[in-house]
Amino acid sequence: MFERFTQEARRVVVVAQEEARELRAEQIEPVHLLLALTGDPGRGGAVLRSCGLDHAAVRSAATRAGGPLDADALAAVGIDLERVRAAAEAAFGPGALDPSRPEPSGHIPFADGSKRALEESLRALLRRGRRRGGAIDSGHVLLGVLAVADPLVGRVLLDQEVSPGTLEEKLGDSSAA
């Protein structure tokens, strides 16, 4: 599947798996690809960082809005998750509200959204390239992630006040709508 990927794009896929593992995710989701892209030395990473989307910002937005305890949504109905967490920890000890799950070992599968994102990255390459033998670089991977309109990725971008269209434009792919 990855024979048309550049080294940097393959690296993004490998790092995405590490991100998923660190976040105790059962699958590699598009947001893990986005996280991996923030550290990419190629144009995908450069475009993200130029919009203020560095690893810390994306990770914090993703954990805030992405976990089963969605702090942003709870805040919207008047519940301050940090206060609930503090109360639980005061009574039952550190980490009481966050039961530890074991870090998944071995291979972590791609979620459907990530599979589609990788397919879309090929499509992004074909849309642009008349040249034969072009390769999927990290910019195409980012376009792929944006193309699948994953809800969590969307919320992270919204949180950071970055529109997908801006990123696509910077990647010279404003035709992708």
Partner: protein, 74 residues
């Protein structure tokens, strides 16, 4: 707790189903985790399953089925 900021965000949530529904899902998860903590604490203090069930307003069977697994004191 109900400062001006809270009021604004609460009002915003009221008419955005996406946020409101996500909040419900998070509330269920939050309630589940707190229930696990509280039931564990009650058992640790010697409460019977019947006492816990009464406090939660559910049947003894329901609370036992949900929480007994994995507990040594079952």
């Amino acid at each position: 707790m109900a400062g001006p900021t809270t009021d604004v965000t609460t009002a915003a949530a009221a008419d955005d189903p996406a946020i409101g529904l996500r909040a419900i899902r998070a509330l269920r998860e939050l309630a589940d985790r707190l229930e696990t903590l509280q039931v564990g604490n009650a058992r640790g203090r010697g409460w019977s399953w019947q006492q816990i069930a009464d406090a939660l307003g559910v049947t003894r069977q329901a609370v036992h089925k949900k929480h007994a697994r994995g507990r040594k004191d079952d």
